[in-house]
């Protein structure tokens, strides 16, 4: 495990420095090594992003890069339009039991901060339950709330508020690296 980490880290650094995203449709196929005349086959552990996560989780072309679920005012039901997205993440968690997910619930700025913290929690919990129903394990998941404290949009109108009524899904790989 330790040995694997170093090349992964190096590639993360290299990829992290490149300003244009490297296309990687399959998310994780190792790069082919050519010209091994030196007797040393250079291998780049592909498909890992700057946080040490497989690129299929972060590549904008991958559905799994979509991590936000939006909610209606005072509501915490996961709307039908997000069922597919939740299913995709559940499938990933089932296939990758070593991976963990932190679900952060958020609310708009109106009303009590503490009540909003609980409302955000309920949103995060709703997403967690959906994932568990689809096969993800409790131990892989933690739902927490940021309430109204970390707005994505700092505005004070409905368009800002609707952006802030949200649950975000963050990943952590088996080696402990990731987004939280």
């Amino acid at each position: 495990m330790k040995k694997l980490l170093i090349p992964a880290l190096l590639s993360a650094l290299i990829l992290g420095c490149s300003s244009t995203p490297i296309p990687d449709e399959n998310g994780g196929a190792p790069v082919e090594s050519r010209g091994a005349s030196s007797g040393v086959a250079p291998v780049t552990a592909g498909g890992v992003d700057a946080n040490g996560l497989p690129r299929e989780l972060t590549d904008p072309k991958s559905k799994l890069s979509q991590r936000s679920i939006y909610f209606d005012l005072d509501k915490y039901e996961v709307k039908d339009e997000y069922k597919d997205l939740v299913a995709s993440h559940a499938k990933y968690l089932v296939a990758n039991r070593g991976f963990k997910m932190l679900i952060q619930g958020n609310t708009d700025e109106r009303g009590s901060r503490e009540y909003n913290l609980s409302l955000g929690q309920k949103r995060a919990e709703a997403v967690k339950r959906s994932l568990v129903l689809l096969g993800a394990k409790e131990e892989q998941l933690e739902s927490v709330s940021l309430g109204e404290e970390k707005p994505k949009n700092a505005g004070h109108d409905e368009s800002a508020w609707s952006e802030n009524r949200r649950a975000d899904m963050l990943y952590k790989a088996a080696d402990g690296r990731g987004e939280f």
């Binding site: 932190l102 009303g111 009540y115 955000g120 933690e142 709330s145 940021l146 309430g147 970390k150 939280f180």
Partner: protein, 423 residues
Amino acid sequence: MQRITRRAFLAFALLTAGIAQAQLSIEITGAGANRIPVAIADLLGDATASRIITSTVRSDLERSGLFKLIDTTGAALDENAQVNHADWKSRGADALAAGSIGRSPDGRMEARFRLYDTQKAVSLGGAAYITSNEQLRAAGHRIADYIYEKLTGEKGIFSTRIAYVVKSRGQFLLQIADADGQGAATALTSTEPIISPAWSPDGSKLAYVSFEKKKPVIYVHSLASGQRSIVANFKGSNSAPAWSPDGRKLAIVLSKDGNSQLYVVNADGSGLQRLTQSGGIDTEPRYAADGGTIFFTSDRGGSPQIYQVGASGGEARRVTFEGSYNVSPRPSPDGKSLAFISRREGRFQLATMDLASRQVQVLTDSNKDESPSFAPNSRMILIATEVGGRGVLSAVSSDGRIKQRLSVAAGDVREPAWGPFYK
């Protein structure tokens, strides 16, 4: 005097803990109907010290909205002077305070004064406080508390402190200031949000929720030493700490078993017990003054409303019925009323309920009131509100008549908590 010395030490400890001064300024709107006319003569002795103490006493009394200050120009009398009661009566004063600033036998600074009832032409008593150049305002607050109590029959709150959070340039500062907004000191600076500060009943500690671990975690923070300890960091969110009146326990909110539910824990984090079992949200617990019950917010009935439950659990009773959003219950220290935030036509306003008659009164006309906090004498309620898109604090008298606004020039102020009486 013991108190002033201790206070000096505390202020020093806070200062050395690293300060970002952000002075609160106060604006008063409205006053009580029947204000007591009182004359506060300049203390005789050192002119600078006298000016600081006397002006502190005067502004404290005036800010309370319960007193009208009578002009004392030309008066030169100390605590031992012969008072011409008829003269002060004719100036319109029902009461007169006179005193001096001098040296105590051991060489320390001493503020002495006497209070008179000019109507009855009698002394109401007097006191002497040991002080220092740095603690002149504290001595003024003590004198104002004495006068307030003698003339109204209620304990004064001028020597109390308030805690609040300032958001400024991406930083969150947990600050402590005197009740008049002066002498602000920063107890904690963080790049992540800090919410829900709650004073321990002895005034030595604050419990609060900090997001520094990327999720809400409950801390208890000793103000004098700066020492912090985690009270609750369970899976999920940890929030809304409320001290029991004896200071031994905290009611808290945890989501470790799913949604937000009430728990009780010892102040050191041990002995966790679940208090409520509902399918929905239970949050914002606050102990009633007698410690026997806990008020809280719950959406178990379909909308957020205030409920009351026994301090060791049992069946909860609904308390609010008007409207679809009543949150942030704060029982008054005298046990008579409950302050809370009520949403009316999309506006969030401070309301109180008389717990005997269940009568509800809306006290403000604002849009975004939050986080009410009673003064320890139950007379005033401190809230966070918004003026011109900026967070400010406002102190409103329990009858809604007197309003004071406290704001910080360079940032948003929120999450106020009024500290206990100085013991």
